[in-house]
Each structure stands twice: as structure tokens, then as C-alpha cells.
């Protein structure tokens, strides 16, 4: 059974007062991750097919075709993991 670890290479807290979280998807799984996320999240804006402004369960985030996503207002790792599970799996 797939887990979020199959998709996620790294999670980084941003440096700065904003406390955003950047998720970097594994290179070989990034296209699949992007497809899954786009299928489940609501698209608010799309720029040149490479940047997607999305929302899911009251959480706004941006997804980049390079295989990275930036999430805001995430309280802790558990909340992020729950969100990623629902988006990816």
C-alpha cells in the first residue's frame, strides 16, 4: 500500500517569520504526485501550466511543476501528513 513517503523526498520549514512549509516530491514520482493533487484540489489560478494556485479543505497552497509545493498556515507535521495523505493517496 502506498504511503506519502513514496512521493515525498523532503519537507522543509522556510527560513523567515512566515513559517511556511515546502514539500519536495521525489523526482521519479513528481508527475504522479502533481496529477493526484490536481485531481483532488480546487484550482484557483494557473500560470503558464507550471504554477498552480490550489485550495483543499480550507488550506491554500501553490504547486510547481518542478515538483515542489508551498503550504501556509500548517500547524505541525501531523496536519501536513494528513493533508498530503488525502491529496496524494
Amino acid at each position: 500500500m502506498a504511503t506519502i513517503d513514496d512521493y515525498v523526498a523532503q519537507v522543509e520549514g522556510t527560513c523567515g517569520a512566515e513559517k511556511d512549509v515546502i514539500v519536495i516530491f521525489k523526482y521519479e514520482k513528481k508527475d504522479e504526485a502533481i496529477t493526484n493533487i490536481l485531481r483532488k484540489a480546487t484550482l484557483k489560478n494557473k500560470i503558464a501550466g507550471i504554477i498552480f494556485e490550489l485550495s483543499f479543505q480550507d488550506t491554500s497552497f501553490r504547486l510547481y511543476s518542478s515538483g515542489k509545493a508551498i503550504f501556509r498556515s500548517i500547524k505541525n507535521r501531523e496536519e501536513l501528513n494528513k493533508l498530503l495523505s488525502e491529496l496524494l493517496l
Binding site: 522556510t14 527560513c15 523567515g16 512566515e18 500560470i47
Partner: protein, 306 residues
């Protein structure tokens, strides 16, 4: 460490990289000396009056960046060093952002110590240079023990202890097997930069910085932080884009294969001076071109769509 005690003062500025703040905060707690911070003006330049007024007979050492890693502001370290010496203090200069980018003459500037990193000047990571005046280093005790830094380690049967004497400079401060590969790599980088000529390196960066700042001003959503007088700074431009976090900006550029630093840049106190949560930072070196500046500005314009 051995030369600092309760009652002494160490002076730094609010524009320092964390690497010139955190070690002093740690050692001040261990040794009990007072750590003082000189103010920075709202444009990121040093408040010279404040720095100089905080230098006094109690100040053992003053520490200052030659060039800010956030704004590129160039500090007049010759002036500050003179005032430090007039007050009987030693002067340490963080040259991590100056030595790679402009000619630095330690004899003319007269600082007692100068530190800089290999990886900021085309060299390897994990190695750097710590320059010290010979007469100052000779008075100092080693901070690390091990091989090479000793002259003799003689065991006394009667005392049951070893009598240790120190090696000559510079080995006195080079305990253990050194980072030989790193030193060879850094030496090659130094030779390469000397071949280019540091005046040429400086002029190239100035040209790109002036060009980039002018082009960035075309974008009404962009705010550039730091001094507007470009003669006061080198090739580092911190900026913000309206309604976007610096991380959004950096990830946007990442999509186009352009690497950019976002966040505090290891200088949170300076961001507090600027009242910023973070900033994006574009910077230039010898390998960058005007065409790349144009590409940067073009991508910046595309951010309008976000």
C-alpha cells in the same frame, strides 16, 4: 576565550550574519562578558556614530562585516578599525562577502583579524581563512589541542604529567591533520581570482548591480531593500514582491532554473531592522552576465500573474 572575562565588552552590529552573532552570544554566557550591538540605519547602512560611541575602554574586541550578506552594504572598516584601536580594542572583520568580491589589503585596513570562506569564492566548502596579525596571534593561546600544534609533549616521571609547549605560528593554531584537499582547492580558487584581477571582479559586479537595480525599478510590485546609493554597496540585491512571500518568489524562479535565496539569509536581526518577515535576494558573481539579468527581470515580470 581566555582573554575575555566579566566586565569586558564585545561589540558587534545588527547587520551581522548569524555566524558573527551566535558564537559571541554563546561565549558571553560562558565567560560573563557583555555583548553590545551597534545600530543599523533604516537603509541598511551602519550607524557609525552608534558603533563608535559604543567603543570604550572596556571593549576588548569589535566585530563587523566588511560587506553585508543581505544588502551588499560596504562598511568603512578602516575608519572603524582606527576608532577601535584608539579605544584599545582589537578589530575582527568578517570578510566572507568582501574578499571574494573586491581587493582587500589587510595592511592598509589594519584590522587585527579577518575571516573568510572558501565556498564564497569559487573554492570548496569546509575551509576558510583566518588571518591574524602576527604580534596578536603570538600572545594568544591555542584554542584546540592535538598533533602539529605542539613543539614538545614531555612526560615527567616525578610529576606524573606532561609538560607541553606550543609550536610556532601558524602551526600553533592548526591542531590535527589539516583539510589538505580543501586547502589545495582554495589555493586554486585564489589563483584563478587573482588571474581575473580583483578590480575587474569588482567592476563587473558593480556594472551588473547597477543594471539590475535599474531594470528592477521598472516593476512597480518590486521593493528593493538597502541603500539607494549604489556606490555604498556590492552585487547583492534584497527585494520583496507585493503580496508574495520571499519563498513564493524563490520557488517561482526555481521553476525557470534560476536559484535564489529566500528567508532571513542568516541575518534575522537585520530583517527586524527592516521590519521584514523575510526577503528574496538576487546576487551576482564573476560568471553572471547582462543577459542573465535580463532573464531575471523577464521572470520577475511574470510574477505579476500571481
Amino acid at each position: 576565550m581566555n582573554n575575555l572575562a566579566k566586565g569586558d565588552e564585545v561589540l558587534v552590529s545588527l547587520m551581522e550574519h548569524h555566524s558573527n552573532i551566535v558564537p559571541w552570544e554563546i561565549t558571553s554566557k560562558l565567560k560573563g562578558f557583555t555583548l553590545k550591538y551597534a545600530q543599523v540605519n533604516s537603509d541598511g547602512t551602519l550607524d557609525y556614530d552608534d558603533f563608535e560611541s559604543k567603543l570604550c575602554g572596556k571593549t576588548k574586541i569589535a566585530c563587523l562585516s566588511h560587506v553585508s550578506n543581505v544588502t551588499g552594504v560596504i562598511n568603512d572598516v578602516k575608519r572603524i578599525t582606527k576608532v577601535a584601536h584608539d579605544n584599545g580594542a582589537l578589530m575582527l572583520i568578517d570578510g566572507a562577502q568582501s574578499v571574494p568580491h573586491l581587493p582587500v589589503d589587510v595592511q592598509d585596513l589594519d584590522m587585527d583579524f579577518l575571516a573568510f570562506s572558501g565556498h564564497k569564492m569559487l573554492g570548496p566548502t569546509g575551509i576558510g581563512v583566518f588571518y591574524g596579525k602576527k604580534e596578536v596571534l603570538e600572545k594568544m593561546s591555542p584554542f584546540q589541542g592535538g598533533g602539529e600544534m605542539i613543539k614538545e609533549v614531555e612526560f615527567s616521571q616525578s610529576k606524573g604529567r606532561c609538560r607541553v609547549s606550543w609550536n610556532e605560528l601558524p602551526w600553533k593554531f592548526e591542531a590535527g591533520t589539516p583539510n589538505i584537499a580543501g586547502a589545495v582547492g582554495l589555493g586554486a580558487a585564489v589563483k584563478y581570482l587573482e588571474g581575473l584581477g580583483m578590480d575587474n571582479v569588482l567592476n563587473h559586479e558593480k556594472e551588473l548591480t547597477h543594471y539590475a537595480v535599474e531594470r528592477m525599478k521598472e516593476n512597480s510590485k518590486v521593493t528593493i531593500h538597502g541603500p539607494s546609493d549604489l556606490t555604498k554597496k556590492l552585487g547583492i540585491i534584497p527585494f520583496s514582491v507585493k503580496d508574495l512571500s520571499s519563498h513564493d518568489v524563490a520557488l517561482f524562479f526555481d521553476n525557470y532554473g534560476v536559484m535564489m535565496r529566500s528567508g532571513y539569509h542568516c541575518a534575522q536581526p537585520l530583517h527586524q531592522v527592516f521590519k521584514l518577515e523575510s526577503s528574496a535576494r538576487v546576487s551576482f558573481y564573476v560568471y553572471n552576465t547582462k543577459e542573465e539579468v535580463n532573464r531575471f527581470v523577464d521572470i520577475l515580470r511574470e510574477l505579476d500573474q500571481l
